[in-house]
């Protein structure tokens, strides 16, 4: 039966003209930060999520929360650490179940990190694969071609894996399904010297692509130091 005949029949059955080109929305999983989940709906599986921001903007805290949430779901996770910056003690304090985490230390080599992440995604079976380029110099991160990001996006497609990339600035561009820009709003200190304490930082995580919302409507969470 020709398509021209089938279309109106489907339209009458479905109660309207279906959009044949749109893809079903990916399944999402919680990030571990309720404010971000409420705003973005969670992290999409089978997609690339990019978290970027300046130094001390709360990116690593967000990444640790994602890993903690995934390991609490009994999923296995992988962290590809380009700059060998991961602190297991902090992560454990943040709730990451370390026996369920595979840590790949790439010794300050972003290219190795990309290749390792690609292999781990191709291997399959991970709930979250985090690619940490957070301390990679901006020039070095910019040298990563868009083709590499497309390759990663293609590899993770149709898998239940959440691919999270962390960097100083947006590198993946259109390859990322969800982008979260972190910015530190303020630092909370308490007490007077010499007993002064760093209490935490207030982080705003905005989604740069949602032009409809103003920056002030972006979710805010507090990363507690104590």
């Amino acid at each position: 039966m020709p398509t021209i005949v089938l279309r109106p029949q489907f339209a009458s059955l479905l109660g309207g003209e279906p959009d044949w080109r749109c893809r079903p929305a990916p399944e999402t999983v919680p990030s571990g930060i309720a404010e971000i989940d409420a705003d973005s709906g969670g992290l999409p599986r089978g997609c690339l999520t990019e978290i970027f921001g300046a130094c001390s903007s709360g990116r690593a805290t967000l990444m640790a929360a994602i890993l903690a949430q995934a390991t609490a779901r009994q999923e296995f996770c992988a962290l590809v650490d380009a700059e060998d910056a991961f602190d297991p003690a902090s992560a454990e304090s943040a709730g990451v179940c370390l026996p369920r985490l595979l840590w790949v230390r790439c010794g300050h080599n972003a290219e190795h990190a990309l290749r390792a992440a690609d292999l781990l995604i191709q291997g399959g079976g991970f709930g979250v694969v985090a690619l940490d380029l957070g301390d990679t110099a901006a020039a070095g991160a910019r040298r990563i071609s868009l083709t590499s990001w497309f390759r990663l996006r293609r590899a993770v497609e149709h898998t239940p894996t959440v691919l999270v990339a962390i960097s100083r600035q947006s590198n993946a561009k259109t390859c990322a399904t969800l982008q979260l820009e972190c910015a530190r709003e303020r630092t909370a200190w308490s007490g007077a010297r010499p007993g002064r304490l760093l209490r935490g930082v207030r982080v705003r995580a905005s989604t740069p692509r949602s032009h409809s919302r103003s920056m002030l409507c972006s979710p805010v969470f507090t990363a507690q130091a104590i």
Partner: protein, 445 residues
Amino acid sequence: MFACLYGSGNLKALAAEFSPTVELTAADTVTFDISGLDRLFGLPQEIAAAILRRAAERSQVDGRGAGTCACHVPTHRDACRDESRHGRPECPLHLALASNPDAAICAARGFPRLSIVPYGDEAKFLAPLPLAQLAPSPELAETLDRWGIRRFQDLAALPPLGIAERLGPEGLRLRELARGEAQRKLKPIADPERFDEEFEPEYPVDLLEPLAFLLARLLNGLATRLATRALATDELRLRLKLETGATHERVLRLPVPSLDTKAFLKLWQLDLAAHPPAAPVVRVWLGLHPAKSQAAQSGLFLPSAPEPVKFEITLARVRAIVGERNVGTPRVLDTHRPDAFVMHGGWGRDSAASPSAGNPASLVLRRFRPARAARVTLVRSQPGTIAAEGVRGKVIDLAGPWRSSGDWWTPDPWSRDEWDIALSDGGLYRLYCDPAGWFVEGSYD
């Protein structure tokens, strides 16, 4: 059809050459199943001739080599010479073939050299043998002796009902043995099985690709042997003898037993690429440790985990990129020493680990490894400005110092003063001062 070898030497090895079902009946007696050998050799006489021929060959080889006799196969002349020299024959190799194991054992022990017990005439053939050969209990032996029953034929002629009434079950069993009618199954020897093979190529192999072909051949053979026994392997050992005379040994350990030869070959290729032999290979030995294969059904609603053997390949590939020691699961050590952790290479075995109790929105430290040496100017005994690689600025706010120390009772003590500082470049850092100087340990992110 069964055969029994009675004599001295390595009878077990000789029997194993003809049958997989070998029973070690006694230290000097071996019984084995020869059913089916007629299709290979023909008549029972020809089977017996083949066994004796092989025994003679083994005897010659072992006599030449180690100087010990494996199986003594006497000729008629030898037997006569021994009898004339010693008055009794030296224990020669006796061979008997019969339709049941016990008839073969009795014939082998009772008659010299070769005996072929005809099917259906076992009682007649065994008739002249002394009853002591059946090893009855002392009481039974005494009773039978008093009755004047001293040979197989005497006991075989007695009515079974009368024997059952007077001698009980043991008497009946002896009568069955004496008539050559006892039927039973052999109790085969359970040899500790070894799964290893070696191969010596015609010329030294100096490239990994031809070596992989040899490994594939050995792996396939060994995996088939394991599969026929419903086994798998969890450890693979490779020993390469090199042209220089040295030996190159490698071991692959798998998280779960498997029989995936393609995965094994890939793992060996990756391992040998990372650790190549120093010289061309002249001999390859491969051993597989047998283990029971695991069959587990995961839950429908449980999250998926990496498939173990496939994951080993992925890990090997990642290790080839980033280095052997840079991949694994971290474990925080039970100490206050900063950045104290160990990496475990065997990832994923602790799948039942419970999630950590922690605050998900806890501020995380990003470490600089190694810590960056800093130039610090002090203002009223507190850091005022910091200059380190990638970290430079004026201290806007700070908390500290926090003094900590430990391991002073060991040769490697540590002590430090820590500050949490907010710099004018927008970063939040951890700064510390120890006897070696000032360092920026990392940034809070």
